[in-house]
Amino acid sequence: MAAPYELSDDSVVVVIGSGAGGGTLGNELAQKGIDTVILEAGGRHEFTDFINDEWGSFGQLAWLDNRTTSGDWRVSRDFPNLPAWIVKAVGGSTTHWAGASLRFQEHELRVLSEYGAVEGANLLDWPITLADLEPYYDKAEKKMRVTRTHDLPGLPGNNNYKIMEAGAKKLGYKEVHTGRMAINSVDDDRPMCQQSGFCFQGCKFSAKWSTLYTEIPEGEETGKLEVRANAHVLKIEHDDSGKVSGVVYADKDGNQHRQAARAVCVAGNSIESPRMLLNSASSQFPDGLANSSGQVGKNYMRHMTGSVYAVFDKPVNFYRGTTMAGIISDEARNNPKRGFVGGYEMETLALGLPFMAAFLNPGAWGREFTAALDMYDHMAGMWIVGEDMPQESNAISLHDELKDAHGMPIPNVHFTDHPNDVAMRNHAYGQGSAVYDAVGATATYPTPPYPSTHNLGTNRMSAKPEDGVVNKFGQTHDIANLFISDGSQFTTGAAENPTLTIVTLAIRQADYIAEQMSQGAI
């Protein structure tokens, strides 16, 4: 029942990207009867097509178009052309994601007030409060069936969780459980988690929420949503009045088309979204669309991350079961006595052998490295994820020379840790190791950050137009019918995994767009 729309139909809302932000927004708009076209650069792979194989799945779903990197981060040295691990497919990164779904803490929406100015950090309060978000968080959690919310039970703990929980309790941590996960803990129209251990490769049981098989088919069923796969947007166009009027995209054969639009919502994740705005520069907007503040592409955040893997004298088999259903939240609060502002979460994590070899200590070799891998089935592991500091110099910019297959400049991703990020990571490495030492680890490995899975902040939300790119509804300050609908809206990153908040903002934005349309404002 998917509605096909004419290229010349200028009554449609065009959403760019079908991931957490775009897929959700597209469905929400369609549910309200608004004609919506989602343009998605990647192909459509249904969950039955997913591959239980790390590199195989990566080849099937990941965004592999060339990107470059700069800055002091180690990713730039180890993976110079892979700054981010995100997806190019219908469903976006919600195909690969682990499902950890946490609300922000109240103070995390006003960190400048809470932490005070931090040297070198471009901190700003969000123009919205937790109270503004709460009703939408409720909707998002229900939609995504987040465990431990709205009376849904938690997932059972796997072997990796059992180790983490035992260690955490010995250390006196209190907030320890199997997480709030957008993974079914009970059967409904999708099955409950079968503990396959391949959350990162796309859930072959569809137990994990992904826009691919929830939002998108629901939207299509209304007859008001068309999802056009293999449609890679190159440019957003505007008319003489400065309103956006359509987008130019390339199909899978490289042929270019122009889809007219009443409004455009950009949800290509935090590298591609600013890239599209910058690549859409015109004589009227020489610095790119919606960039009067100069903040498009700036303040790139990727969360303070790292992992701690630990080896035990007995087997763990941590690759079995839900990848990330386990959390310690005691360190998530702001307690500057630890030597840094903000906080972090500790979440269970397991990789298969192929990814462990690639990511445990990239570039390392020799017997010290293989001694660790030889104990693969005796390993437990956790990911640490905390708030990083927005810095104006951490930025997505257009490459001076290199172009993609369609002739558009490719993005460069520049990132250097803030001293606060480094202090927090070191603290987290210490605490993570202590958790495992408390239950008899024979070795622990403080593992460096992977290519970014959480990409945030590059079109940030601000009360004042001079401080950021969008207002409190994700509407660009400069162009009334141009919206940002993904994690690039984030003013700051908070300690929590971002997707629940991206979905929450998208639901809220859909209400606002519908209201603006009915008022004739856009």
């Binding site: 239980n52 796997n158 087997p315 088999n317 079995r320 298969g352 690639a358 089935d377």
Partner: protein, 178 residues
């Protein structure tokens, strides 16, 4: 707990013949291991070069439970690439020749493979770890070695699980020792 048998499921003949995994080079230009029953045809590279690459691969990622054939399979791609790409062929041949000559000067033995201790060979590799030859060799091994499904059970990794219904009935929470 359900734990895996990490022994490789092959005929035991290789182990019974006793001899270590020293690779031989045949006149027809193959590298083979009579004791372990495998052989690699070499098309573009010198057979001696292939034998050295196999040794280097083991020295880069030494896993004593893995037979040489897995390392041979992992580096064989360099021969295939060399057959199509003369620059790659030169990178590999020059890289091996360079390290052989450095080894002869330093240790007075007939090249890299003649050096008896892994620690000494690894020290030779450390000298070139920033060079393109080493980067190509090590970089290729990360996927070329660890993505061979045959070796996964030897690390206790079971690979795909959805076709078996996941681990819900197969030990996702069978840890009984904490």
């Amino acid at each position: 707990m359900r734990v895996l048998n990490k022994q490789e499921a092959i005929s035991r003949r290789g182990f019974l013949t006793g001899a270590g995994g020293m690779a031989l080079i045949t006149a027809s230009g193959a590298v083979l291991s009579p004791s372990q029953g495998w052989a690699v045809e070499v098309k573009a590279l010198k057979p001696e070069t292939m034998a050295t690459l196999i040794q280097m691969a083991r020295d880069i990622y030494p896993h004593d439970r893995l037979a040489d054939k897995f390392y041979a399979k992992a580096v064989k791609t360099h021969d295939e690439t060399a057959a199509k790409d003369s620059a790659h062929k030169q990178l590999i041949e020059d890289g091996v020749a360079y390290i052989d000559s450095r080894t002869e000067v330093r240790h007075k033995v007939a090249g890299y493979r003649a050096l008896g201790w892994e620690a000494d060979r690894a020290a030779m590799l450390r000298l070139i770890e920033d060079q393109a030859f080493f980067q190509a060799l090590r970089g290729g091994l990360v996927v070329g070695l660890y993505n061979q499904k045959e070796i996964w059970p030897m690390f206790g990794y079971e690979g795909a699980s959805a076709d078996q219904g996941g681990y819900i009935e197969r030990g996702f929470d069978d840890l009984d020792w904490v």
